[in-house]
């Protein structure tokens, strides 16, 4: 059972063998986070940020390991193909040296597992680790239990050419995995980081993940998350970025798997002239549920933010989007734009899209819009009059709706990976292969 007590005992059982267990600051931080979680429990609908996604059921939820461990090597091979890149693979929440291939890195770049980083440069990790008060109670649980994750530090001015791929394969021998990724991009550095969440099997597993990004002045970071966990999985994650002057941050969140997925994505402009893109795409069917809770904090002037979320909702699924935009009093000449568009593929599917604007400055451009609609009958008819049957036409229009989100992924190999992941979900997706 996943009642709070269960996690408290799990914590006590594992604390001594957690990476960095010997670091007093970390042990204290983990305990503090655990107490917070024990105190607050799982968020319910009464919590203003969890109105559409109650985790009250978690108190009764059992998690179990799959009886057959997924073939991590095969999953990785399918995903990786012949991509050189930098690949860090985590199975069941632990870094897997054999499957990983970090590759050659420019001088000064640190790219290791978090466990290794805690041994090699604990002070730098401490500065980036985050605090027990960050986020909501699931984030605190993650902080307390995280066993591993990735550590990436880019020195000033260094650009990583190939993307860093972090692959997290769930459901091996543990019923839950807790991951923490820390990324520090010093001034004027550049990198693309991709997080892949994979899972197989029919056991209900839990993933909690927290990714923290510090994007220093004029650094350019692209973060892409491809969540393809197994159908019964529960996935609770957060992405937290801070941006210094002129920093550019792009987040692409693609949520295709898991029974319940929650992504809290936040960025804060701590310097002038920052730029953020929050791009999202989700596809759901059955009784699955995804909730993206995003916020962009224009704390400093002349920031530019663009946010686009798209949902494809089939079956009895439910897609929730909240887009909070905060423009501080002194953040003049901020420019924020937000859209959330949902395509309902069945009558029973449901979409919620909520903008939350808090604008305290007066010289601000801020636009937002949300749509929920069905497949366009005119387009369907047009395609059919050209000889495409109903099923082909629907698939094509479904894909086309998603393509707008995929097209915002500028790195072509990544866009292809994202496309392939979507195609694999769409019935008859292979018919559309030529679109690739």
């Amino acid at each position: 059972m996943s009642a709070v007590d269960t996690w408290v005992s799990a914590f006590h059982a594992g604390a001594a063998v957690q990476p960095g267990a010997g670091l007093p600051w970390l042990a204290a931080l983990r305990r503090e986070a655990l107490y917070r979680f024990a105190d607050e429990g799982w968020p319910t609908r009464r919590h203003p940020r969890w109105q559409h996604t109650s985790l009250a059921f978690m108190d009764q939820q059992d998690f179990a390991a799959n009886t057959v461990a997924p073939d991590a090597a095969a999953a990785l091979a399918r995903l990786r193909g012949d991509d050189a890149g930098h690949w860090l693979v985590f199975v069941g929440g632990r870094f897997n040296t054999e499957l990983s291939d970090i590759g050659a890195l420019p001088a000064g770049v640190q790219l290791t597992s978090l466990a290794d980083a805690l041994e090699q440069h604990p002070e730098a990790v401490q500065a980036a680790f985050g605090s027990a008060t960050d986020g909501d109670s699931p984030a605190a649980l993650n902080l307390a239990l995280a066993t591993d994750g990735a550590w990436l530090r880019l020195p000033r001015g260094v650009a990583l050419e190939a993307p860093v791929h972090l692959v997290f394969i769930a459901g091996s021998t543990d019923a839950s995995q807790h991951l923490r990724n820390l990324i520090v991009a010093e001034a004027n550095s550049e990198a693309t980081i991709v997080e892949h969440y994979l899972g197989e099997g029919d056991a209900t597993t839990l993933t909690t993940a927290a990714t923290r990004l510090q994007v220093d002045a004029d650094a350019r970071i692209t973060h892409l998350k491809l969540q393809q966990e197994a159908e019964p999985a529960i996935h609770l994650a957060s992405i937290d970025a801070t941006q210094a002057r002129g920093a550019q941050f792009a987040s692409h969140s693609l949520s295709f798997g898991a029974r319940l997925a929650r992504n809290d994505i936040h960025t804060r402009f701590d310097g002038e002239g920052c730029d953020a893109l929050l791009n999202g795409l989700y596809h759901l069917d059955g009784r699955r549920h995804v909730d993206h809770h995003t916020s962009i904090n224009h704390a400093q002037p002349r920031g530019n933010s663009r946010e686009f979320y798209r949902g494809l909702l089939d079956g009895n699924s439910r897609g929730v989007f909240t887009g909070r935009i905060i423009v501080a009093k002194d953040a003049q000449r901020s420019d924020a734009m937000q859209r959330c568009d949902n395509l309902l593929l069945s009558r029973a599917a449901e979409a919620d899209a909520r903008p939350e604007l808090e604008i305290y400055a007066d010289d601000v451009k801020c636009a937002h819009g949300a749509t929920v609609g069905q497949m366009d009958e005119d387009s369907l008819f047009y395609l059919q009059t050209r000889g495409l049957d109903d099923a082909h036409a629907r698939r094509l229009l479904t894909y086309a709706f998603a393509a707008e989100a995929l097209d915002r992924i500028t790195l072509l190999p990544l866009r292809k990976q994202a496309r392939a992941a979507l195609m694999a979900r769409l019935p008859g997706g292979e018919l559309l292969e030529e679109l690739l």
Binding site: F381, Y382, L383, T385, L388, Y399, A400, A402, L435
Partner: protein, 261 residues
């Protein structure tokens, strides 16, 4: 080839086609003219299979088959083509994919081998040249952001690629400059053959200078109220629709077609 008898259609309880008769033989070109709102687009959409319109009566036989019983895509595959008055924009689908999917769907039905990417490109580029479309239009989303004239050219391109046996052009000439008009006319004329038929819906006699119709019909208030030869178009141009009557009835003594010239 096409035999429409007493066709009645409505939308949301509003009668639009009120007993329309029309026969089109293979090899013929028919022009349909008529005032705004008279039902020309409704007729073409009903023939193509749009289900927003309810067919309340009558029959449409096409090559001995009950056209109205055929699914939309089956009509298309069997060689029915409708050039839309308002072509639909489809963001996210490249024109190239769309054209190829359409051509191959039709070819498959006809027992022809599907085009591979290379063959298709060769073919489509040749046709694009003849309708005056730049290659970049292949890589843009279907009709998205196309100008009015570009959309119409794209319709003519589709028609040329799909080689229909019965093509209906719903105001393909509206809003076109004179060069584009010639492109449309040329597309139609290239398609003309003894085993094909064309229905050209237009408001302007000038198109019929380039596409010489065998028959001209006037559609008013959901019925064909007058049919004649090419001179009927000239007469309409000169006199408008007033003399044809507004209740769908033919005026007692319309001027003789020949007499007007």
């Amino acid at each position: 080839m096409l035999d429409i008898k007493n066709l009645k259609a409505s939308v949301e309880g509003k009668d639009i086609l009120k007993g329309l008769d029309l026969q089109v033989k293979a090899g013929e070109v028919h022009a349909i003219m008529g005032p705004n709102g008279s039902g020309k687009s409704t007729l073409s959409q009903v023939l193509a299979g749009r289900d927003t319109f309810q067919v309340d009566g009558g029959s449409v036989t096409w090559d001995g088959q009950d056209l109205l019983a055929m699914p939309i895509e089956e009509r298309a595959r069997a060689g029915l083509f409708l050039a839309f008055q308002y072509p639909v924009e489809i963001p996210g689908v490249s024109n190239a994919y769309f054209l190829k999917a359409a051509v191959n769907a039709v070819r498959k039905h006809r027992g022809l081998p599907e085009f591979d990417a290379m063959d298709f490109l060769t073919r489509v580029k040749a046709e694009m040249k003849s309708v005056g479309m730049k290659e970049e239009f292949l890589y843009r989303a279907v009709n998205e952001g196309f100008s009015g004239g570009e959309k119409k050219r794209n319709e003519v391109l589709q028609m040329a690629l799909l080689e229909p046996r019965l093509a209906i052009l719903d105001e393909t000439d509206s809003g076109l400059d004179i060069d584009a008009l010639k492109v449309v006319a040329d597309g139609v004329n290239r398609l003309r053959s003894p085993d094909r038929a064309l229905i050209v819906i237009t408001h302007y006699q000038r198109l019929l200078d380039y596409i010489v119709p065998d028959h001209v019909h006037v559609l008013s208030q959901g019925r064909i109220v007058r049919s004649g030869g090419r001179e009927l178009a000239l007469e309409l141009e000169e006199k408008g629709y007033g003399w044809i009557g507004d209740a769908g009835e033919i005026h007692a003594a319309p001027p003789a077609a020949g007499g007007a010239q």
